[in-house]
């Protein structure tokens, strides 16, 4: 047995760099390696998380039951109106359907749901086996669309056709079909903007909407947090697109620029620094003097309100070290700056689906010695958090127990959280959450157990 069982997986080497140490380019945006226990989900997941916040749509999963079960109400996305999106519909394919095809069942499922819920819009998500057994989703959906005179849009999201990013693209294509005006329609531009890449997990889209309103900026539609059929249809009218979650929305934004001449800018509402800069950039992009003035007023007012609160937390947190492993690159970049605001250095940073350009920005922002990694697994997260002496980890549900088992604090930056992390309100919530976990008295008890090497790294 001449095998290397020392624990290092050489094919992962290219996905990990340490700033200042190696000059090599980080590899990213490719398939996960088999057996590496990737934290990533699949194409279907990517599509579902982007589209699911559309509140008045029927989200029908064409596949076996698991895909629908595991994603029922997946995002905590809030709605100001319809609640239809909070259901998980599935064709629940069984063995017979795999053998004889699921087309008939799918048609009947659409018919039954449309009749029951009187919806104007249906998304039909394809899952792994649908891609294999070859049900003609396009034909089934367009037939159903004609039958009911509503939009029935296929989402090409078979799990194996790429990674989560491919799902973002599939969602983008579905959205492009939805917003496409009929051929005879004339697009009348107005002065409004579209807000892309906010899923309104805990009212974030509403917070931003309020800011824009105070600046005199008209928000046309959010993609896709708290959005609905009619609002999305009006998307081509906007003058400008602003993108928060670039990972999921940059493809759509590019296409909208090409098709509807809507330019886009990337913004971020995570942290005070980014929020203020974003508001300024939006005002500048729209070019109206009154907006620029109002933006400054808003920033001054809000900054004054939250500054002392943030400073209070900063005093408690100064010098702690953070590890970050989140879904997208945009979020990771903002988090580096946001941690800096509360006196914390980032010692490890990685994402599930970050893009090359995003990793380059991360590399610029972090200090020498910071580990940067793409598509990490629990073994790597554990190793680098320990090596770098991280005091806390930011991540999702799967990462949380790992951090806790290591005796490290944890911040939920995931679908499940119930408090907003955007804007000035979000910056306060974030600082408070970091404080609540890093400075919790529970860590003292770990040391009190008197374990030999059990000194948790929370000095």
């Amino acid at each position: 047995m001449a095998e290397d069982l020392t624990g290092s997986i050489t094919e992962r080497d290219e996905f990990i760099v340490t700033k200042g140490k190696n000059k090599k380019q980080l590899k990213c945006d490719t398939d996960s390696s088999a057996g590496c226990v990737s934290q990533r989900a699949c194409v279907y997941c990517g599509a579902r998380v982007v589209l699911n916040p559309i509140t008045d749509a029927i989200h029908l999963v064409h596949g076996p039951i698991g895909c629908a079960t595991y994603t029922w109400d997946i995002r905590g996305s809030l709605s100001s109106g319809a609640e239809l999106y909070r259901n998980s519909f599935s064709t629940d394919l069984k063995e017979q359907d795999i053998i004889f095809g699921g087309a008939k069942k799918l048609s009947a499922a659409i018919d039954g749901l449309v009749e029951k819920y009187q919806a104007k819009l249906v998304f039909v998500y394809s899952t792994c086996i649908v891609g294999v057994i070859g049900d003609d989703l396009e034909a089934i959906c367009s037939a159903a669309s004609r039958r009911h005179n509503i939009e029935v849009i296929p989402v090409e999201s078979s799990g194996f056709i790429g990674n989560k990013s491919a799902g973002y693209r599939a969602a983008g294509d579905a959205l492009l079909r939805l917003i496409k005006p009929s051929e005879s329609a004339v697009i009348e531009k107005n002065n409004s903007i579209n807000y892309l890449g906010d899923f309104n997990l805990a009212g974030e889209a509403w917070i931003i909407h309020n800011y824009l309103r105070q600046m005199g900026v008209e928000l046309n539609v959010t993609f896709t947090g708290d959005s609905h059929y009619t609002a999305l249809k009006s998307a081509p009218k906007a003058k400008l697109n602003i993108i928060q979650c670039a990972g999921s929305m940059i493809y759509l934004a590019g296409k909208m620029e090409e098709l509807y001449q809507i330019p886009y800018i990337q913004i971020s509402f995570l942290g005070i620094e980014d929020t203020a800069a974003s508001l300024r950039n939006i005002a500048a992009a729209l070019g109206e003097e009154s907006m620029i003035v109002k933006a400054e007023e808003l920033i001054a007012k809000e900054t004054a309100r939250v500054d002392s609160i943030i400073k209070g937390y900063r005093a408690k947190l100064e010098g702690k070290k953070a590890a970050i492993f989140v879904g997208g690159g945009f979020k990771a970049i903002s988090l580096i700056k946001q941690f800096r605001e509360i006196g914390i250095d980032v010692v490890m940073i990685g994402t599930q689906t970050g893009r090359k350009e995003e990793y380059e920005i991360m590399n610029e922002l972090v200090d020498d010695g910071t580990v940067i990694l793409d598509d990490a697994n629990p073994a790597e997260l554990e190793r680098f958090m320990m090596e770098k002496g991280a005091n806390l980890l930011v991540g999702g549900v799967k990462e949380r127990p790992l951090a806790y088992k290591l005796g490290i604090a944890f911040i939920d930056h995931n679908h499940d959280r119930k408090h907003p992390l955007s804007g000035f309100e979000g910056a306060v919530n974030f600082a408070e959450e970091v404080y609540s976990t890093v400075c919790s008295p529970v860590w003292k008890s770990l040391n009190a157990l008197g374990m030999e090497s059990g000194v948790a790294n929370h000095g």
Binding site: A34, G35, V37, S38, C42, W72, N87
Partner: protein, 459 residues
């Protein structure tokens, strides 16, 4: 009476908010109860990630599960390369003593022969003695409940050998909580009975905090014990609802002549008595005084709460075996099981539940292979005032204003799913208190206003 046939017309085509998960999920849970084992899910990346997320959320434990990360190429040309790579990597990082491979709908649909692939892998690596257990668990083949028992059977089929007769009793347990497993072990210890408990995830999915962290947790049924289960004096299988085809206990009986005692989960007086009496019958041991006292305390508590319980009309849902156990507790205590439901497709279920509720003053509604839209409708019709089952039952609270006692798997919106104790005399008392107090809380919440509306306003 079972409603399955009447509902087929709509139900066949669409599942509206699933009440079950898919087969590989059960396979993972079963394998997590084997000492130093790792699981590889053969399929696209998302399956393993979603299931890890679900399990991690319930148990609040890191759940490392590999994936063969099938991509488009693997789907077209076969996944052998990916699976072999996954085996290499899992062995390098985790050094497991056993690897379980469960399939997904994708792997099954493209016809992967995992037994041949793993057999060849072992030969090529000159490690024929290493246990790799394969279980074919297509997502369209059944629910996680069937996946769980089928995988347990597959492990026995591949590991258990003809062994010399011993005095141990095989205890085969369903998907109950780690706290439940520990309670059963405590009762066995009190009875001074030697046993092999299978599978045992009481430590692996609920491990104590300790430093340093190890990737593989201690605990689990030992592989040597599994090998010798064929020599046991008897098997007690807490799996009264499961079909013979997936019954690990049945397999041991047929293959090695180990007498099988198929009993319900020891929940409630009658079922716990059955467990104790079976142990007495097999071993001839006496029931210790302490267990008798626990039983007496349960009876005492049942009297304390019986009048409150009589006002309960419950909907019970989840995995068939757990649902059956809860139905017994409800029926014994005067809580009328108005709706008894499972998402799984288990032939015996209807008959068993019908017998369990035979003495109830009204007829219960039994739903098989159902979903939450049907459970909600039946609950409203049955004037249900308490729901008992996993977290997804919050849908019944949200849509039907029915308070939920969380029990079973998964519990993802509360902490402590792994710590819920509901078996044995002591656990039954704790569960019954949760049920009674939920009924009381709900009554106290509204009796002032309901009395006022009913009598004062009329007068």
């Amino acid at each position: 009476m079972a409603e399955k046939n009447k509902e087929n017309i709509f139900f066949r085509n669409v599942n509206e908010n699933p009440c079950n998960m898919c087969m590989p999920m059960g396979g993972i849970l079963a394998l997590k109860g084997i000492e130093q084992s790792m699981v590889i899910v053969h399929g696209s990346q998302g399956c393993s990630t979603y299931m890890r997320r679900h399990i991690a959320e319930h148990f609040n434990e890191p759940v490392d599960v590999g994936s063969s990360s099938l991509n488009e190429k693997g789907t077209i040309y076969g996944g052998e390369k990916n699976l072999r790579q996954a085996l290499d990597n899992i062995r390098k990082v985790y050094h497991p003593a056993l690897i379980g491979i469960v399939t997904t709908c994708l792997a099954e649909t493209i016809g992967e022969d995992i037994e041949r692939i793993t057999g060849q892998y072992l030969i090529d690596n000159e490690m024929e003695e290493f246990p790799i257990v394969t279980a074919s668990t297509p997502g369209y083949g059944g629910s996680h409940f069937e996946g769980y028992f089928f995988t347990l059977k597959r492990i026995l089929m591949q590991l258990t050998e003809a062994a010399e007769k011993n005095n141990k009793i095989n205890i085969i347990i369903p998907n109950i909580s780690p706290a439940d497993i520990r309670e059963i072990k405590r009762m066995l210890a009190l009875m001074q009975i030697e046993y092999v408990l299978y599978p045992d995830f009481s430590d692996t999915l609920d491990r104590p905090f300790a430093k340093p962290y190890t990737k593989m947790s201690n605990g689990g049924t030992k592989i040597t014990e599994i090998r010798s289960m064929g020599g046991a004096a008897a098997t007690i299988q807490m799996g009264i609802t499961i079909e013979d085809g997936i019954s690990p206990g049945k397999y041991l009986e047929e293959e090695f002549g180990v007498p099988l005692y198929n009993i319900a989960i020891p929940m409630g007086v009658e079922s716990t008595d059955a467990f104790i009496n079976t142990l007495v019958e097999i071993t001839g041991k006496k029931v210790p005084e302490s267990i008798k006292q626990e039983r007496g305390r349960l009876l005492d508590g049942m009297i304390d709460s019986h009048k409150y319980n009589f006002q309960g009309r419950s909907v019970i849902f989840g995995e068939p075996e757990m649902v059956y156990g809860v139905t017994k507790i409800c029926a014994e205590n005067g809580v009328f099981p108005a709706v008894v439901a499972t998402g799984s497709q288990i032939g015996k279920f209807n008959q068993l539940v019908t017998a369990a509720v035979a003495e109830c003053p009204e007829e219960s509604k039994i739903l098989i292979e159902t979903d939450f839209s049907h459970i909600l409708a039946a609950s409203k019709e049955g004037k249900v005032n308490i729901a008992i089952g996993p977290s997804d039952g919050r849908y019944l609270t949200e849509k039907g204003d029915i308070p939920l006692v969380r029990l079973g798997f998964p519990i993802h919106d509360r902490v402590g799913g792994q710590r819920l104790l509901s078996v044995g005399y002591t656990g039954t008392m704790m569960l019954l208190d949760r049920i009674t107090n939920t009924l009381l809380e709900n009554k106290y919440k509204s009796y002032r206003s309901s009395m006022y509306e009913e009598f004062y306003q009329q007068g």
